[in-house]
Subunit: 181 residues, 2 copies
Amino acid sequence: MRKFEEVTTESKEIFKGKIVHLKVDTVTLPDGNTSKREIIKHPGAVAVIAQKEDGKIIFVEQYRKALEKSVVEIPAGKLEEGEDPLVTAKRELEEETGYTTDNLQLINSFYTSPGFADELVNVYFTDQLTKLEHNVAGDEDEFVELMELTLEEAEQLEKEQRIHDAKTSYALLYLKIRGLK
Amino acid sequence: MRKFEEVTTESKEIFKGKIVHLKVDTVTLPDGNTSKREIIKHPGAVAVIAQKEDGKIIFVEQYRKALEKSVVEIPAGKLEEGEDPLVTAKRELEEETGYTTDNLQLINSFYTSPGFADELVNVYFTDQLTKLEHNVAGDEDEFVELMELTLEEAEQLEKEQRIHDAKTSYALLYLKIRGLK
């Protein structure tokens, strides 16, 4: 048995959506008591830290319904079923930014909300970008605007909470350290 | 109208749980088309980057049912309704680690999964810790184990994916930069 493992005695599916599934598991705790766990199943995601030759970083601004505001993020997107995250990363970069690359390095992967969700984000870095001649059509219900910013400009947007999500804040620290080396 | 705003035309509540609520909103997109947004409402959370006088950082290991594994994270917890995040942060630190402080600095706040959830994590830093004489009882369905690690040890756990969540990976970069200054 793994440390502090919670053994499922019942699993109730509540909702199967286009993106998230919700289930409620009844579990036996390490002390023998019972509890409930509300769990969101998510297909996983990718994010790309993309730095141009001039040092500027590529961001996209989009409206996030869950937050009821527009935020500035590094390019990112959900995995399609069975898709290699590297393929997703290249596709999302192309669709959202009009840039492409054959040089994506996986720098980390992390769960975004381990308390209630299994969403895992694979984070890639590239500094070898080529502008596509023709735009690639993305999801028809996604409206994004490209932004190219210096790290200092991005840090200012973070102070103003226009950059306001975990993967993008992570990316800014990553780039800061990279710049110090 | 805010940039790319998606106007809600219908909101359907699917589930009201102990921790998460799930709703599906029907929205009008900027181009006039209609789409659905699956949205998780979460009370918000705090996390504490706690560094001892000897430089070691405080972590807790716990089983995360959503991931079906134990992971090592910085101390964290959900907000109670109407609670000041600073109060939550101090309480979670005391309950999960047996340390306390009156010196918590808010260093950042970020949404963990802006694509589908409104969970906002407030991240605090402290390097002024006092060991409590008596343990404080935490949530009865939470089992955590205290770990005190150097940054290098923690980075090794991250490589092994025993540290595997966004706020903790963020914390490691934050501490690395702090150490470089």
